[in-house]
């Protein structure tokens, strides 16, 4: 996983509450058996005027000029500013894959759906929860200022505005550790193999039926 330490970048504002994973990456693109190729279909139904199909080249598709990511001033944005309950809906990790491949490194919102939050952290994409009032201010500043950018530092857990105001944010120690180091958490867990085996032995004694053979056909 790509580590996340510090990042400064242009902010794109997505002013809608309850943006769900079907909107982030519509389901026809979930048929892929790969981990990449989703960036061009991020927000597909909002971003393009036609209906996208998997495997289709997107460079010639008609863009929706109304959609915020298509505005010239937000090209190259790497910080997504969002509203309540961002990422609700399914557990599909295709949503953070699409956001990351598009170029977003971090998402700022008043709240995130739990599974989506977790999936972001596994993909080097930092979800930052800030107070609704702070988010309101960021939306207002972003609307007023061309090239509006924010600087994020995970080690100090801060977001710094262009006017110098700093907002702190919470992130739990484990996720912070993994994001900073870009760690593969399977490797970390396997370091505890002996503990898992010991647990498994106790668990098997207490509830042997959990370890029964699967019935055959």
């Amino acid at each position: 996983m790509t580590p996340f330490t510090q990042h400064a970048g242009v902010v794109a504002p997505l002013d809608r509450a309850n943006v769900d994973t079907d909107q982030i990456i519509p389901k026809q693109f979930l048929k892929s058996i790969k981990r990449s190729g989703f960036g061009q279909n991020l927000f597909d139904e909002w971003r393009y005027l036609d209906v996208g199909q998997p495997g289709q080249a997107c460079s010639t598709r008609p863009l929706n000029p109304e959609f915020v990511l298509n505005a010239p001033r937000f090209q190259g944005a790497s910080v997504l500013l969002a509203r309540e309950n961002f990422g609700c809906g399914s557990s599909r990790e295709h949503a953070p894959w699409a956001l990351a491949e598009y170029g977003f490194r971090t998402i700022l919102a008043p709240s995130f759906a739990d599974i989506f939050y977790n999936n972001c952290c596994k993909n080097g994409l930092l979800p930052i929860e800030l107070d609704k009032d702070v988010i309101d201010v960021l939306f207002a500043q972003c609307a007023e200022t061309k090239g509006y950018a924010l600087a994020i530092d995970l080690a100090t857990q801060t977001v710094t505005r262009p006017d110098g105001v700093v907002h702190g944010f919470e992130v739990d120690a484990f996720r912070k550790h993994c994001l900073l180091g870009g760690l593969d958490d399977i490797g970390l867990t396997l370091e505890a193999s002996a503990a898992i085996r010991a647990f498994e032995a106790r668990h098997r004694t207490a509830q042997p039926w959990l370890f029964a053979e699967c019935p055959s056909a």
């Binding site: 002013d15 026809q28 048929k31 505890a192 647990f199």
Partner: protein, 473 residues
């Protein structure tokens, strides 16, 4: 020390270690896989040269992509017309083959939607931790299990380590006391709950459904309820174990037998929240107040009783909420203050992991019996949740009831719940659907979904518009 909640107990039973960083390793008893969220996990496993930690803990079946017309299904894998879907189903077969994982393939009578198949087989048992790369894994919590959806990285993690890195959530309890009015089902209860607490109401919480109205529900009803916990923002939904749970589990293929059954029951009976357990959040609803529900907007919290009128954004002070209502009305092609019963339907979908179990099909068939689907409805689909549900329904003659009334009787799969297979809405079409999500484009680009119970969906098919199922002539 205060008592423990059901969630506290399940957590304690499965916590392997608590790490210095505050996260815990949680042992996973059952891992269920399907074709959409697993290919990249298997690929990761291979690339790292790893193998599954405990093969026996895994169970797989394809569901999201499989065609549901009897004709396309008869030809097996090779007959899947959509090449991309075919590859995904084939990839699951190959992965399960390579790693020795038990799979109910497309042509196996036990194939079906993961959340219907697990409980039906007894592969979901009380007291288990159950995960699957699908957010509606909360369904399995109906058994007093700790069950939730995971992403693909975590699918790989569980395959490789039989554990998840997890953080304990907060406890939430939703109590529904009293007796539900006639014609009001578990689906109406859960929609009413989501309408009350909102789609983010349960964020960060494990949600236990409790109260006399919940205890009176069948296992099918409890699964419907827990299925949609995720639509209330909670990854985990649960109902405590009682006699109803035990009666359902007994005798299922994966369930323990003989002396092990007795030992299991002794343990399972303790899977209830203690009387003095402390919940971070408690919400109470009165069963008598719940009416048949219909969602009108593009988020499950946009839901109202069938006799209500749509909201008027002019009366909403919060600008974010006002914007959401305006956008939803526009997307849905509906007007402020319009009566729900004035919404006309183009299609009807009875199916999905929320409502495609035998009890759901019985409820819909009871409404359809001796009636006809309205001429204005282009298509009314009934898609059983599994091959075994289909066979049972056919034994009871429900398929004939549906077909005579003008419904199509299909083979099991997710179907029009998310339209990854050919079953989908055309832009602008309104659909009465027993599924769980009414997001924009969920059932096809531009499609307009209204979430309802099976009986309400059948009634809507007959009337061609929404109608209180109790008032159907």
């Amino acid at each position: 020390m205060p008592g423990q909640t059901l969630y506290d107990k399940l957590w304690a039973i499965h916590e392997v270690v608590r790490r210095d960083d505050g996260a815990s390793l949680l042992y996973i008893d059952r891992h269920i896989l399907h074709e959409v969220t697993s290919p990249q996990a298997f690929e990761g496993l291979r690339l790292a040269g790893r193998t599954p930690w405990r093969v026996q803990a895994n169970l797989a079946t394809p569901d999201h992509n499989v065609p549901t017309t009897q004709a396309e299904r008869a030809g097996g894998l090779d007959a899947i017309v959509d090449a991309v879907s075919r590859l995904q189903v084939q990839t699951l077969n190959e992965n399960c083959n390579d790693f020795g994982i038990l799979e109910f393939r497309m042509d196996d009578p036990r194939q079906g939607i993961v959340h219907v198949v697990g409980p039906e087989q007894g592969a979901t048992l009380p007291g288990m931790t159950v995960v699957c790369g699908d957010s509606h894994t909360s369904t399995h919590g109906a058994f007093g299990a700790l069950a939730h959806g995971i992403g693909t990285s975590e699918v790989e993690h569980v395959l490789a380590t039989q554990c998840l890195v997890a953080q304990k959530m907060k406890n939430m309890r939703v109590e529904v006391e009293g007796v539900l009015p006639p014609g009001v089902t578990a689906k109406d209860v859960v929609l009413a709950i989501i309408g009350t607490i909102g789609t983010a109401g349960g964020n960060g919480h494990a949600l236990e459904f409790a109260g006399s109205a919940i205890r009176a529900l069948s296992m099918e009803g409890r699964m419907t309820l827990c299925n949609m916990a995720i639509e209330a923002g909670a990854r985990v939904g649960m109902v405590a174990v009682d006699q109803t749970t035990l009666d359902y589990v007994r005798g299922r293929p994966f369930a323990p037998q003989g002396a092990q059954w007795d030992a299991a029951v002794a343990l399972w009976r303790g899977l209830v929240s203690d009387d003095d357990a402390v919940f971070d959040t408690v919400v109470r609803l009165r069963a008598e107040d719940i009416q048949p529900q219909v969602s009108w907007g593009t988020s499950p919290e946009m839901v109202l009783p069938v006799d209500a009128r749509l909201p008027d954004p002019a009366h909403e002070d919060d600008p974010v909420k006002r914007g959401s209502i305006e956008r939803a009305l526009h997307y849905m092609g509906l007007r402020a203050n319009q009566a729900i019963t004035d919404i006309r339907l183009d299609r009807v979908f009875i199916g999905s992991c929320t409502n495609a179990r035998i009890e759901d099909l019985r409820a819909a068939a009871a409404v359809a019996k001796g009636r006809k689907v309205a001429a204005s409805v282009k298509q009314a689909l009934v898609v059983p949740g599994s091959g075994l549900v289909k066979a049972q329904a056919e034994r009871e003659g429900l398929d004939r009831v549906f077909v005579e009334a003008g419904f199509e009787w299909r083979a099991p799969g997710c179907s029009m719940c998310l339209a990854m297979n050919p079953d989908r809405l055309e832009p602008g079409e309104h659909c009465a659907s027993t599924s769980n999500r009414n997001f924009e484009g969920r059932q096809g680009p531009g499609g307009r979904t209204h979430l309802v119970s099976p009986a309400m969906a059948a009634a809507a098919a007959i009337a061609g518009r929404f109608i209180d199922v109790r008032e159907l002539p």
